[in-house]
């Protein structure tokens, strides 16, 4: 049970704050702690949101390139576009389109259909986005070394069960889809919501089982006291990454991640071809924008989970870590490594989306229950046997 008690002394920021203001009285210190927490959370939110926003542009650009088009390259903001090189760069790469899209969501009329269940209808977009931002707070984006030479993660909150926390809160995101589907009080959103819930139930199992073998692998190491902490999992990948030592688990987790984030080929909740626009058919304007950002935020958090679990977290290559002797440069590089990996994962998500057609609903269920779950179970049991021998 010890692992489930939050170890508050591990909080990176608390340690920081103690260094910054040692002479401060307790109340002042407490206020500073709170303030630092808020600032760190805001930074985290900004990172996740900007990645989500950029991945919207990347989605449009990559899909355009795959289809032999240019993608958005004309939208220009009057004054910004006049800046000599930067303006043209932003315009050509569709980055001003991002602003235009966001403004459009803000400025459109926000309709509230008469037939919806108002309370749940209003709360659903919030439910789609907020779990993503909450889950983002436990992700170790990088590492730094305290004065004592102890490695600590660059995370808003670092506690012993952060992996469980991230998985649990991340899975809550589907409640947005279910609420939206139900409260819209119309056929297609309802079906989208049902599909979303069924899909999450079936793929959450396989995902959890594939994570178990990684946790087991970390846990068998004698000097790790909390194998469910994402920081410890990342630290355990200073040698070989878990995608090399646990390829089946990595594959299952990756496929389940596609299903969890409702991305093609598991785009069941939204499948435009048969469900108009799925669970957010009745939404418009900024409420739709929240769903939209939530989807991409989910991708960001999901891919950072995958990176922490299987792709070596903040380590640049298998068998190479940023050395402690480089000091802050090393921690900056670790942060950069993580962000580059997120970008690469987002590209992969987009790449897969514009390559594969959508599975049929029954196919999704069949793959989930008849292939993924048994395979994950088999992998786990095989690893258990391997460890016990």
């Amino acid at each position: 049970m010890d692992a489930f008690i939050l170890n508050f002394s591990n909080f990176a920021i608390l340690a920081d704050a103690a260094e910054v203001a040692p002479a401060c009285p307790t109340a002042c210190e407490f206020a500073l702690n709170i303030l630092l927490k808020v600032v760190f959370s805001l930074v985290c939110v900004v990172v996740v949101m900007s990645f989500a926003g950029l991945s919207v542009v990347a989605e449009r650009k990559v899909c355009a390139y795959i289809q032999g088009r240019y993608g958005p390259n004309r939208t220009a903001i009057p004054i910004v576009v006049a800046i000599p090189i930067l303006g043209n760069f932003l315009k050509k790469n569709g980055l001003m389109q991002l602003v235009a899209d966001g403004l459009k969501f803000l400025l459109k009329e926000d309709p509230l259909p008469a037939h919806v269940n108002k309370f749940w209808y209003m709360i659903a977009p919030v439910m789609a986005l907020s779990p993503v931002l909450i889950a983002a707070c436990v992700i170790p984006f990088g590492v730094y070394w305290t004065d004592g030479g102890v490695m600590a993660p660059l995370a808003v909150a670092n506690f012993d069960v952060s992996l469980l926390f991230a998985l649990a809160i991340g899975a809550l995101g589907v409640y947005g889809a279910i609420m939206a589907g139900w409260s819209s009080n119309s056929k297609f959103p309802y079906m989208g919501g049902m599909r979303a819930s069924a899909q999450v139930i079936s793929y959450e199992l396989a995902m959890g089982l594939s994570v178990l073998s990684v946790v087991l692998m970390v846990g068998t190491n004698a000097n790790v006291d909390s194998p469910l902490s994402m920081f410890e999992i990342g630290k355990a990948q200073s040698g070989l990454w878990f995608c090399i030592t646990q390829p089946v688990a990595a594959l299952i987790f990756l496929i389940a991640l596609f299903a969890e984030t409702n991305r093609l080929p598991f785009d069941m909740a939204e499948s435009e071809t048969d469900l108009v626009s799925g669970f957010h058919t009745e939404y418009g304007s900024f409420k739709f924008g929240l769903f939209f950002v939530g989807e991409y935020g989910h991708m960001v958090v999901g891919s950072s989970l995958f990176i922490t679990l299987f792709l070596g977290a903040w380590n640049p290559f298998p068998g190479f870590v940023w050395p402690e002797s480089w000091g802050w440069i090393s921690s900056a590089l670790s942060l950069l490594t993580f962000l580059v990996k997120i970008a690469a994962m987002l590209f992969f998500f987009i790449w897969v989306r514009w390559t594969l057609p959508r599975f049929r609903y029954d196919q999704v269920m069949r793959i989930g229950w008849k292939a993924m779950v048994p395979l994950a179970l088999l992998n786990f049991v095989a690893y258990l046997v391997f460890v016990s021998i």
Binding site: Y65, I66, G68, R69, Y70, W351, W354, T355
Partner: protein, 178 residues
Amino acid sequence: MAIVVERKSPTLLERTYLPQIVSGLFITFKNIFKPRVTLQYPDQPPVLPKGYRGAPTLVRDSEGREKCVSCQLCEFVCPSKAIRVTPGEISPDSPYAYIEKAPKEFKIDMSRCIFCGMCEEACPEKAIVLQNEFSINAATRAGLVRNKQALYAAGGVMPDRIKKWKKVKDNSEFGRKH
């Protein structure tokens, strides 16, 4: 005779679906580096094919004579009734007096024109020609109605190989029968 196509059941590897996904991913990845096919329209003019049917125009021949003899066949054949021809006489002291007629006014309503090219086909004098102009716009509906002057300005010169009118002119001048 019917040919029976034997359908092989997929191998285990094919049933995992993964090799197919990977090969598909490679195809799309290669596409990223292929040249773009989109025409950047306002910056790049499109290459129009031969025989393109753009805006209808009136043309002159190599001597600057307006070819139209205002027979009104184009007006008659026009399916969208975009053409209005007002026939007029040619004054007797004009060098082309024996042609009898020329349009006094010739109007094409570009908001009605459907670019079918039937006027061009119907014209016995090859006086009305659909040319390459495709971006036709004006601030008002009235601005889209082109008068004779505008149509000739857009049309330019289209020389004839056989100058029917010249033959007629020469014959009449030298007193020969047609």
